[in-house]
């Protein structure tokens, strides 16, 4: 039986791992490569790596702590893929087919596309034809407005005017293979997923939906599986707080008879 995935999302800003709150405040959490090695060791199901830098400056600023300077987001991806043998989705600043190809060659399996899908919807068609739908993840940031739920672009700054369901269905027709569905209002709040939103999209779409935004305790994962049809649950901040977080999350779900991969610290 296919398992539901538990997926840590790593946010990178200027070369550092950060945690995010409502898409605006970012706190430095340290070295991104070390963090990924940790997650791999605990048999995380997959990884999503998002570059949320607003410019192209990747610096260390903490060379004093003995970390090696990795000059670019792509350099970080390359370093990670040499040591981590699990599926990796990479997002941020992807604007053309060449950007996708570069990331795949460095070891990414999938790319997530957000803003460019609005700027040029045909890009999604071209990308899924060139690399296969399985490779193209739509990242979708949703915020509540006075006129209902709306999809936002450009790091959650600009209201596109599209309703989440309209956009998800349209992009599915254009060929996306998965949707990473994130709630801006819940980002970093720890008060649980936007269940209504997840439910709406996961009932209507054929492709797998990855829930994101708002997890503050393991029970929130359970709630998503109980109340919606999402295929996978993702979270960022909560996986960075404790040492064996992914293992603990999966153990919790496994022990409660949820359909996740057995939380072994694998060694065969």
């Amino acid at each position: 039986m296919k398992k539901n995935r538990v997926i840590p999302v790593l946010l990178l800003k200027n070369g550092w791992l950060v945690q995010s709150r409502e898409f605006s405040r970012h706190q430095n959490l340290g070295n991104p490569v070390d963090s990924v090695k940790r997650l791999s060791k605990w048999a995380s199901d997959e990884l999503i790596y998002l570059d949320i830098s607003r410019d192209d400056i990747y610096d260390t600023r903490r060379d004093d702590q003995g970390y090696e300077n990795i000059p670019s987001f792509l350099g970080i991806i390359e370093a990670v893929s040499k040591e981590v043998f699990m599926p990796m989705t990479v997002g941020g600043k992807i604007k053309n087919l060449h950007d996708i190809e570069k990331r795949l060659l460095l070891g990414a399996d999938k790319v997530s596309i957000n803003t460019e899908a609005f700027n040029n919807p045909n890009f999604i068609k071209d990308a899924s034809k060139e690399f296969g739908s399985q490779c193209i993840v739509l990242s979708m940031d949703v915020k509540k407005t006075s006129s209902g739920d709306r999809v936002f672009k450009s790091f959650g700054q600009i209201d596109t005017g599209f309703s989440p369901l309209y956009w998800a269905k349209l992009m599915e027709d254009y060929g996306v293979g998965e949707i990473l569905l994130n709630s801006i209002d819940r980002d970093g709040m720890g008060n649980g997923y936007d269940i209504e939103l997840l439910n709406q999209i996961s009932l209507e779409c054929k492709c797998p939906i990855i829930a994101c935004g708002g997890v503050g305790e393991w029970e929130h994962f359970k709630e998503a599986f109980d109340k919606t049809k999402v295929d996978s649950v993702a979270a960022a901040n909560i996986f960075q707080y404790t040492d064996q977080s992914v293992f603990m999350a999966k153990k919790y779900l496994f022990n409660n008879n949820y359909n996740v991969r057995k939380p072994d610290l694998l060694k065969i």
């Binding site: 296919k2 199901d45 043998f85 998965e178 779409c205 295929d231 694998l266 060694k267």
Partner: protein, 207 residues
């Protein structure tokens, strides 16, 4: 004289050769990414990776690989061969993704869309394999048999004795196939953590 194990990862322009190369390096297995006859000849094992569609993979394979030479090495001379994902699917006689396209035809069967019922497609994520046969490719994998899949199509075998393992996603499909030295896996061992690493190590046991 026994040959030192060396893997040739067949390079036909498939995007994901890097992941397999990285894994073999991590496992300290000597490997080369190449489409040259000399490298293929000097290797003890061949791996055909793949992502994307059947159609585009076959197009690139016929354009970029010395396929008659490889066929002679694998089918006639018995060099161990492992096809991964699309690299397994192209072993079929034909595939039906984006129209009917011929495959290599080394294992009898065709590639058809998965019947997923009301389950999402593509089939993405970790799923387990039930072993129908237990050749050395799957030794030691009884307890940890979840692998990472990404596929919308699957291999429909014509001969049951080529079925090594199957996976259920609404319906059952062949996830590990084999005919002597010619092996194929639908999932991605290079992304399947410890279980994938074990399977690759097992593959090197074929001589």
């Amino acid at each position: 004289m026994s040959q030192i194990e060396k893997v040739c990862i067949l390079d036909y322009g498939s995007g994901n050769v890097g992941s397999i190369f990285n894994l073999l390096k991590y496992l300290e297995i000597n490997s080369v990414v190449s489409n040259k006859k000399k490298d293929i000849q000097n290797s003890s094992h061949l791996i055909l990776p793949g992502v994307g569609s059947f159609e585009s993979a076959m197009k690139k394979i016929t354009q970029n690989l010395p396929i008659e030479y490889i066929e002679n090495e694998v089918v006639s001379k018995g060099k161990p061969f492992l096809g991964i994902c699309i690299g397994m699917q192209v072993l079929a006689e034909y595939g039906l993704e984006f129209g009917k396209n011929n495959g290599l035809g080394w294992i009898k069967g065709s590639v058809i869309e998965i019947e997923s019922g009301n389950q999402p497609l593509p089939h993405i994520g970790w799923n387990n394999v039930d072993f129908i046969q237990k050749p050395k490719l799957v030794s030691g994998l009884d307890k940890v048999n979840d692998f990472y899949f990404v596929n919308s199509y699957c291999f429909k075998l014509e001969e049951n004795n080529n079925l090594i393992g199957e996976t259920t996603y609404h319906e059952k499909f062949a996830s590990i196939i084999g005919k002597d030295n010619i092996l194929g896996v639908q999932f991605h061992p290079e992304k399947s953590q410890a279980a994938g690493q074990k399977l690759i190590t097992n593959f090197l046991e074929y001589k």
